[in-house]
């Protein structure tokens, strides 16, 4: 079986499990909504939103919801005691990583489909100004964050107090991707948009994603072996 084919099988398994319970998508989306609510008290002044706040609101909400989802995807395998079975399966280790990453990304895009329009609606962000650029920034930023996130979540499965440690470890390391996504989005949504800068950040994100993915694929096998 090819690496990509096995990865797709794992992703499809995860998505089927998720579709049956809808646990992650419901909880993560509701958590994102709570975040938006909290941000409203911080960034909404006299009926208007603080300048440039929507990009930050969008990304912080996404990252918080993503951390929640990240912890759960592997927690599920641990609870059912299927992680060992998965690791023992006669497939290449990178395909497990890729499958997990793929299912997680599909889930995160599902959350963003709800969060992005809400940021536009509740905070008056012009999300349709440059839809392709914004979509690209969201996609690439999320891929960068999730690429490292999947690796660390897999690693931390065997660690105690993993729920606390995952964000502690993940945020500083994935900062280039978060920074790129946030800054690019900021320039798209700003009162005076600067598409030139947004495109520069998009290009940086392509580069970061390539580095993150390569490093994660490289280290996944050694850190998950006993």
């Amino acid at each position: 079986m090819g690496v990509l084919q096995a990865a797709w099988l794992i992703a499809r398994k995860d998505l089927t499990v998720e579709l049956r319970s809808r646990e992650l998508i419901y909880t993560a989306v509701f958590f994102a909504l709570s975040c938006l609510l909290v941000f409203a008290f911080a960034f909404v002044g006299e009926r208007t939103v603080v300048e440039n706040a929507p990009a930050g609101i969008l990304w912080v909400t996404t990252i918080f919801a993503a951390s929640l989802a990240l912890g759960r995807t592997f927690e599920r395998e641990r609870q059912a005691d299927t992680l060992r079975a998965l690791l023992l399966a006669p497939i290449e280790r990178p395909s497990i990583y890729l499958g997990k990453l793929l299912s997680l990304l599909i889930l995160l895009f599902g959350i963003q489909v709800v969060v992005v329009p809400l940021v536009g609606l509740l905070f008056g962000a012009p999300i349709f100004r440059a839809p392709l650029l914004l979509g690209g920034l969201l996609l690439l930023g999320t891929v960068g964050f999730a690429a490292v996130g999947t690796l660390f979540a897999a690693m931390l499965q065997r660690a105690s107090s993993r729920d606390v440690l995952l964000p502690v470890v993940l945020y500083p390391v994935t900062l280039p991707a978060i920074l790129g996504g946030m800054q690019g989005t900021l320039w798209v949504l700003a009162a005076e948009p600067n598409y030139e800068l947004a495109r520069t950040w998009l290009a940086m994100l392509v580069f970061f994603d390539a580095v993150f993915l390569t490093l994660a694929l490289w280290t996944f096998a050694p850190v998950t072996s006993e």
């Binding site: 660690a159 500083p172 900062l175 490093l215 050694p222």
Partner: protein
């Protein structure tokens, strides 16, 4: 345990020399010319810069040792990595204390979100994450923290690059080679002192870690 007698003196000598050099450093720094615009507070630079460089070296040592541990599982590399991570955390804390003291006087603010300061802060966070993971991760967390150390080191240039694109204000790196000799001598003097301190502490800490592992192993053997 076998090599204790001979190499035992190495960290003692290193730390003694570093201690003496640092104790004498105020007099050496005093020989440097008085910086006209910043005055007395500029002298913190003779500590700030060498400490920052030592932190960088500690981060690189931790990254390389972690990579070796992740891919080869050499125990000695893990002991070096944990020692270096603690050094990176310690020297990083010193950088983040001396920096604001200087900034308050010369820029008028305690903290500025400029490229180098922000990347130093992020790097310090990465190595603190390494230590937290190791301390609270439970059994087997050595490999996990090693992956963080490896990632941290590889990402240093990318973190710097991305933050640099975000903003820039810090004095340029080229300041060191162009310093007048009278300022250069105390700077290199302090740099050597801090490097000796770093190496001495590293050797001690790595040895302590090795002993800790041996004791733990012996204890487990007794229990079984």
């Amino acid at each position: 345990m076998k090599d204790m007698s001979g190499s035992d003196r190495v960290p003692t000598i290193l730390l003694s020399v570093a201690g003496l050099m640092l104790a004498a450093s105020p007099w050496v720094i005093d020989t440097a010319p008085y910086e006209a615009t910043m005055g007395l507070v500029q002298r913190i630079f003779y500590y700030h810069f060498p400490i920052a460089m030592t932190m960088m070296v500690a981060a690189i040592v931790c990254g390389i040792a972690s990579a070796i541990y992740v891919f080869r599982r050499t125990e000695r590399a893990d002991h070096v990595a944990v020692a270096a991570a603690e050094m990176a955390s310690l020297f990083g804390l010193l950088v983040l204390i001396t920096g604001p003291l200087w900034a308050r006087k010369s820029w008028g603010v305690w903290w500025v979100w400029d490229a180098r300061i922000t990347s130093t802060f992020i790097m310090w966070m990465v190595f603190n994450a390494y230590l937290l993971l190791r301390r609270f991760g439970g059994p087997g967390s050595e490999v996990l923290s090693a992956a963080v150390g490896f990632f941290g080191m590889v990402l240093v240039p990318f973190i710097y690059w991305s933050v640099n694109l975000w903003r820039t204000l810090h004095p340029n790196t080229t300041v060191v080679p162009t310093l007048p000799v009278s300022m250069g001598i105390p700077l290199y003097y302090c740099w050597i002192a801090f490097t000796l301190l770093f190496v001495g502490l590293m050797v001690l800490r790595a040895r302590l870690e090795r002993s800790r592992v041996l004791v733990e192993r012996a204890w487990r053997a007794v229990e079984e």
